[in-house]
């Protein structure tokens, strides 16, 4: 009998939760939806390609395929003040303008090497707001990528239920 109770609890735990009760709605999609799209279509496209340039696809998925551009936009729309949001917009426009000035075509039409050159120029820009823009997008891109299910489960040894704690064990040999 007691054992059955324990098993039931664990089964519930393993099954996860299917629905959220009303009181937990403070952070659901409905309540945190911004009600507007932060970026216009051109800015959005530049963001997508910027994220893709920062962490591109190779023999493994890149940040773009993992939905990171949407994550970056959502984070800035929901979790940052208006001046930061504005700086994201002007920063993305500046990226596009820099591409046009340097390569005579929009950022999204540039090849990977050209895009990296443009982004490097932004990264080392003398303007503080440009540097901040670059850091913001890069940091959020890294956050979105490294906390994605794909990266955590396939590459970062994600183990939500270790079941033990060993205080002093040999360190795994560094991979590369």
């Amino acid at each position: 009998m007691e054992r059955r109770i324990a098993l039931k609890q664990i089964a519930l735990a393993a099954g996860g939760l299917l629905a959220l009760p009303d009181w937990a709605n403070a952070w659901t999609k409905t309540s945190v939806r911004s009600g507007y799209v932060l970026l216009d279509p051109t800015q959005s496209q530049v963001l997508v390609e910027m994220v893709d340039t920062l962490i591109p696809a190779s023999d493994t998925l890149g940040a773009k395929a993992l939905g990171v551009p949407d994550f970056v936009q959502k984070m800035v729309a929901d979790c940052y003040e208006a001046p930061v949001q504005q700086n994201l917009k002007t920063g993305l426009e500046a990226v596009d303008a820099a591409a046009k000035a340097k390569f005579n075509q929009s950022f999204v039409r540039c090849d990977a090497a050209q895009r990296m050159e443009v982004l490097t120029q932004i990264e080392i820009s003398p303007e503080a707001s440009r540097k901040e823009f670059y850091s913001l997008v890069k940091n959020l891109t890294i956050q979105g990528y490294t906390t994605s299910e794909y990266v955590m489960t396939k590459f970062l040894h994600y183990n939500p239920i270790p079941g033990h704690f060993y205080g002093c064990v040999p360190a795994p040999i560094a991979q590369k």
């Binding site: 007691e2 054992r3 324990a6 039931k8 609890q9 664990i10 519930l12 735990a13 996860g16 939760l17 959220l20 009760p21 009181w23 937990a24 403070a26 952070w27 999609k29 309540s31 945190v32 340039t53 920062l54 962490i55 591109p56 190779s58 493994t60 959502k74 984070m75 929901d78 979790c79 940052y80 003040e81 990977a112 990296m116 982004l119 890069k138 890294i142 956050q143 990528y145 490294t146 906390t147 299910e149 990266v151 955590m152 970062l156 939500p160 239920i161 270790p162 079941g163 033990h164 704690f165 060993y166 205080g167 002093c168 064990v169 040999p170 360190a171 795994p172 560094a174 991979q175 590369k176």
Partner: protein, 584 residues
């Protein structure tokens, strides 16, 4: 035990009165947190029909932990709370994460007046802060109980370690406490399940301390985690700690002790418990003719209707300051200044723990070693300052009492975030083990003083019509000097251990930031200078027991929850014995 359920409601002669006085119980417990859960378990277990009142919503074990099994990528903002949501919480900052936001109250639930800055973290839902606590469970010793008498502050505790020791054992066995038998007189051993391991650097530090100091020790902190489930835990439906360290989301395994996983379901199984969420206690009803408390006035949080419930015995476990508020608001002709407040000391001598001192460092040894799994506990250095006597020379002579220290750390994974493109990607997919980090945090005893108090505001009321609580509490010179000593001593100890990049600081956090607020309804021997006797009964209203943090005469340095549990079980046992003897 005689139960008189629904008796009052059945009397035919007063329809209005009957509508309000729905049910009569043997006992009422105000609050369902760590001490209220124990009161509920003990009273129902001894046959009392018990009403448990909780001002917040219900939280059922497992099913009401909505984030417990979510992965990082399932949080829309990876845990960060959107600004628009955050704005609804004013300057409340505790548990302000997507993982835990549902445990946080909004300011309009219980506004209070901070005469000086005070952080008051509340857990207003079934289970209270037993879902949110740090789960460290160190026993007090007579070095703590004898403190006020020895050093001449507050009043003498009416109990000693021998009075509470069997009750520590009693609650430890049920709750499940892991720890080492360390044989320290100032941090007595308990009924321990196997300890959690220290990590390489903690063990190294332990050795250095043992070698260089004869007055201090580093041990593994005792904690309320099941490391080897016993039949009593399996009977509760609880399993072994899985080392997820997601405890504050609620543990679906019941790996750590909470009211929700342990005491409340146990009370429920007796058939004697009625749990009533959304019940904001307004005040305790005092029967002037009988000279005792007769029940509790409750405001239904949903309907805002005032209800009355009656019982023979009332346990006040609303959390320290909220219990003060309830008693202060329980006025009558006999007690115009609050229930049991003949001496005017109700709400005074509020104290807490001094968590201001912090220290961090790194260690460049053991680079071939790391940890595996997650550690729900940490190293612990029991109090060593002014322990056996108050020093009269040397640095410890500058202040009264002392501090315990938590010690923790480990190796994090370090991302190389340089560059962009394929190189960056490769780096991110191959993070490297960083250096060993080690940190320490101070847990200082604060000396209760009359000036630090809570009281009711004369004009301001909350949305339930209850007068708002004024918190008036400041750090003292004693606290400041203790922080300085902590930083000096810990820097010296860290340096002796060969730690590098040592950074000690005073966070200057608000009083209350420790979430260990205590006192206001202190225990004592003399009704002239205390509110509660040695059984946690109000001296002048014997059927009211206060067994949460409000009862604390002094604060010790130990995380206090275990002591609240033991005091509650002890008081409940006493209360039922008195009821049976018809002397209550």
């Amino acid at each position: 035990m005689e139960t008189c359920a629904i008796e009052a409601a059945m009397k035919p002669n007063n329809r209005e009165k009957n509508r309000r006085a729905t049910v009569r119980y043997d006992a009422i417990v105000i609050g369902s947190g760590i001490s209220g859960g124990w009161a509920a378990k003990e009273l129902t277990g001894k046959g009392l029909k018990t009403l448990v009142l909780e001002r917040g919503r219900d939280v059922k074990h497992v099913t009401d932990y909505p984030t417990a099994n979510l992965n990082p990528w399932e949080f829309e903002h990876r845990g960060q709370v959107p600004l628009a949501v955050r704005a609804q919480y004013g300057n409340i900052r505790s548990f302000m994460r997507e993982e835990t936001l549902h445990w946080t109250i909004k300011p309009d639930e219980q506004p209070f007046v901070e005469e000086q800055p005070f952080t008051w973290t509340r857990g207003y839902h079934v289970g209270g802060k037993s879902l949110l606590w740090a789960r460290q469970t160190q026993r007090w010793s007579d070095f703590d109980f004898e403190g006020p008498a020895r050093d001449g502050f507050a009043v003498d505790w009416p109990i000693r370690y021998a009075d509470i020791a069997p009750w520590y054992s009693y609650v430890e066995k049920f709750a499940g406490i892991s720890g080492n038998k360390d044989g320290l007189p100032h941090l007595p051993d308990g009924e321990f399940l196997p300890p959690i391991e220290l990590n390489c650097v903690e063990t190294h530090f332990q050795g250095i301390i043992a070698q260089k100091y004869n007055d201090r020790q580093l041990i593994q902190g005792r904690c309320a985690h099941i490391t080897d489930p016993q039949p009593i835990h399996i009977e509760q439906g609880r399993a072994q700690c899985q080392h997820r360290n997601l405890c504050v989301r609620g543990c679906p395994f019941g790996g750590y002790f909470s009211s929700n996983s342990s005491t409340l379901p146990w009370a429920e199984k007796t058939g004697n418990m009625t749990l009533r969420p959304h019940s904001v206690v307004h005040s305790i009803i005092y029967d002037e003719k009988k000279g005792r408390a007769s029940g509790v006035r409750v405001i239904d949080a949903n309907t805002k209707e005032m209800l009355e419930f009656y019982a023979n015995v009332i346990f006040v476990n609303g959390s320290a300051l909220n219990s003060n508020q309830i008693l202060l608001n329980s006025t009558s002709s006999r007690f115009p200044n609050g229930l049991g407040n003949d001496n005017g000391l109700l709400g005074k001598f509020v104290a807490w723990h001094n968590y201001r001192g912090k220290i961090s460092a790194q260690f460049d040894g053991f680079l071939d070693k790391t940890t595996d799994g997650k550690n729900p506990s940490n190293g612990y250095i029991p109090r060593f300052r002014n322990l056996h006597k108050q020093e009269t020379s040397g640095p410890a002579s500058r202040f009264l009492r002392g501090y315990a220290v938590g010690v923790g750390g480990g190796r994090g994974m370090v991302q190389n975030r340089e560059g962009m493109g394929l190189a960056l990607k490769e780096q991110l997919l191959n993070p490297q083990l960083g250096p060993w980090n080690v940190s320490g945090w101070m847990m200082g005893e604060t000396v209760p003083i009359e000036r630090n108090h809570v009281r009711l505001d004369a004009n301001l009321k909350d949305k339930y019509g209850i007068p708002q609580l004024v918190t008036s509490a400041v750090w003292t010179e004693n606290d400041d000097k203790m922080v300085v000593d902590y930083m000096e001593q810990m820097t010296e100890m860290f340096a002796a251990a060969g730690f590098i990049n040592i950074k000690a600081l005073d966070s200057h956090s608000n009083p209350g930031s420790d979430i260990h607020e205590m006192g206001g309804v202190r225990m004592g021997k003399d009704p002239k200078t205390s509110l509660l006797n040695e059984w946690n009964q109000l001296h002048s209203v014997k059927n009211v027991f206060v067994t949460d943090g409000a009862c604390m005469t002094s604060t010790g340095t130990q995380n206090p929850s275990l002591t609240y549990m033991a005091l509650t079980a002890r008081a409940a046992d006493y209360a039922v014995k008195q009821l049976k003897k018809k002397t209550l």
